[in-house]
Symmetry: C2
Subunit: 350 residues, 2 copies
């Protein structure tokens, strides 16, 4: 655990505002033909007219709210900031093509730190094949703010919304849930230990999977490709950023339906199950109320069940029911409980 400062430290002021942007974004290649004009003008220019409609999403990460420089390495933070945004584009069943990045930086941040952050941003751009086409960088009196806008494309008829789930649809999810939340709990615990006993070196080796899901999540581009290859269009979709329960509520509220979730159908990684028990938490609750999994939750027409059944990493965990039946969990013990919409709450209620 360190504040991630390299030995060399160049103050941002020595480069100036334009100098910093030039320095970081010079010679940035673009890979998508739809990117007509990238960084360097009043605005970027893109042309998605041959590919379909344009999908736009924006998201902000705030120091002290969404990340902590005590344990978020800057490179991973840059990577994650991109992933979080791309996840929203995939959740529309679209392909991200471009991003813009806006940064507000306090003078605590050195040029080297910004470079590290951008290393992560660029690395994600390469992996997900998106072009960094613009943004702005400004000063902040305190704390770091990262705002990203992701721009994607797909044919109009392939775009999937939240408000189109139908009674009888199967409720599915990719990957597994709850790991990122437990990763955060581990990091918070280690931070506290470190603050109590400075110099202590935490051994996080065993918890690599959970911590990795928190610090360097991936977005499910493979699902969108899988849907296309298998001639499948989900009836509704959302990404799991605020926790499964919260996402189910969004889908149900906007579609005017209810849902029944099988506790036994919620996919959990073995490390998640073990660590939940160590923390004296119920694994299903961790999946329902955690967050930042960046998996895709979606509903499919029951006629598409055969298409989904043998696809990798897709789990059927419930069914869409009439609105009057509410949103409920069918536990492994055979009980039925209403699910509460408890997601991330960034604004303290008191």
């Amino acid at each position: 655990m360190s504040e991630n400062t390299k030995e060399k430290r160049t103050e941002i002021g020595t480069l100036g505002e334009f100098g910093l942007i030039d320095h970081i974004t010079k010679d940035l290649p673009t890979v998508n033909p739809s990117t007509i004009k990238s960084i360097g003008d009043d605005a970027a220019v893109i042309d998605h007219s041959k590919e379909g409609v344009t999908v736009i999403s924006t998201d902000t990460l705030v120091e002290g709210i969404h990340f902590d420089l005590m344990y978020n390495p800057l490179k991973h933070l840059g990577y994650k900031a991109v992933v979080v945004n791309l996840s929203d584009i995939y959740a529309m069943n679209a392909y991200p093509k471009q991003i813009t990045v806006s940064l507000a930086l306090s003078n605590r941040i050195s040029v080297e730190a910004v470079e590290e952050l951008y290393e992560g941003i660029k690395s994600a751009c390469e992996y997900y094949k998106v072009d960094l086409i613009g943004g702005d960088t400004t000063a902040s009196p305190s704390g770091m703010f990262i705002n990203l806008t992701a721009i994607g494309v797909n044919k109009k008829e392939r775009i999937v919304y939240r408000n189109t789930a139908k009674v009888g649809d199967l409720l599915c999810v990719s990957g597994n849930l709850g790991a990122a939340y437990l990763g955060l709990q581990i990091l918070e615990r280690e931070k506290q230990l470190y603050l109590d006993t400075p110099g202590i070196q935490p051994d996080l080796e065993e918890q690599q999977y959970l911590i990795g899901r928190q610090l360097k999540p991936e977005a499910r581009f493979d699902m969108v490709e899988l849907f296309e290859k298998n001639g499948l269009i989900p009836t509704s979709m959302i990404d799991v950023s605020d926790g499964l329960a919260s996402e189910i509520f969004h889908i149900c509220k906007q579609s005017g339906v209810g849902a029944i979730v099988e506790e036994s159908g919620i996919p959990l990684h073995p490390d998640t199950e073990q660590m939940a028990i160590k923390f004296k938490m119920d694994p299903a609750t961790v999946a329902l109320s955690g967050g930042e999994d960046y998996e895709l939750m979606f509903t499919i027409n029951p006629n598409d069940m055969e298409k989904v059944k043998f696809l990798p990493d897709i789990y059927i965990m419930g069914e869409i029911v009439e609105k009057s039946e509410g949103i409920k969990l069918h536990t492994k013990g055979g009980n039925i409980h209403p699910i509460k919409a408890q997601g991330w709450v960034h604004f303290p209620t008191k």
Copy 2:
């Protein structure tokens, strides 16, 4: 001068994150047919394929850097945040159609204050006929951050870049320059007086024009319409956000040319001239080094001079020359000085 808090104060926490967004954006109408899906999903969906290519710009306003809640009324601040972004779209010779708004808010900000900010945002959206299609709202440990992304459209062949000015082109500007900068100086002076003698009520009546240019600027949509009506496409264009000198440098550097500016050609409002003298500043320097005018600076082919000559509110102030001739000011006194690229510098150099 006040912190702009109404009597009623509702804490943001009482609504929660989703509650606040819902509360502010419910029943928001859209006016552009290209807006297919607005607020309420993982991303917004737009379709510009019938109208041309998509132009995207993003900009951040940071409390204590770009605005001061001591003298920026929140409604005006919201309006200005939109205008600043739309100006970038107009500077591409495109028509803005959509915006997204991301806010980071400290708990110093009440629900009523956010509503006031959004009143300004919505008012600008109505005036400029753009749809607010998304964004996010999150907590900030301190200070307010406003990030906007503006999305516009025009036919590909009508988009105007910064790097296409040619030797012999005429250098033009809309409106007048320097007023917003002097407006800021007046507000800063009054703030200081207020802090020194609390309770004092400043008399800003006489300086309404200059202060208005600072607090509630407008973007030049009329110029883009005027160009289209008169069959004119500028050879290059940029908006004046960082000061005339800085914008000339951008155009010249990116186009690989030089420029000669006639001091007598720089348009100044009478109030700007008078106030500059009061502040013991040279009016031309105020226009060159000030900023936030949000006028359009552009170059035209000399063959188009007849088209421009009789158009309202367009001023020819110089000429594009060979790069080797540098960037120079021809003063009223007949002298020639090199122009320095001194725009807004948000990062202190020391």
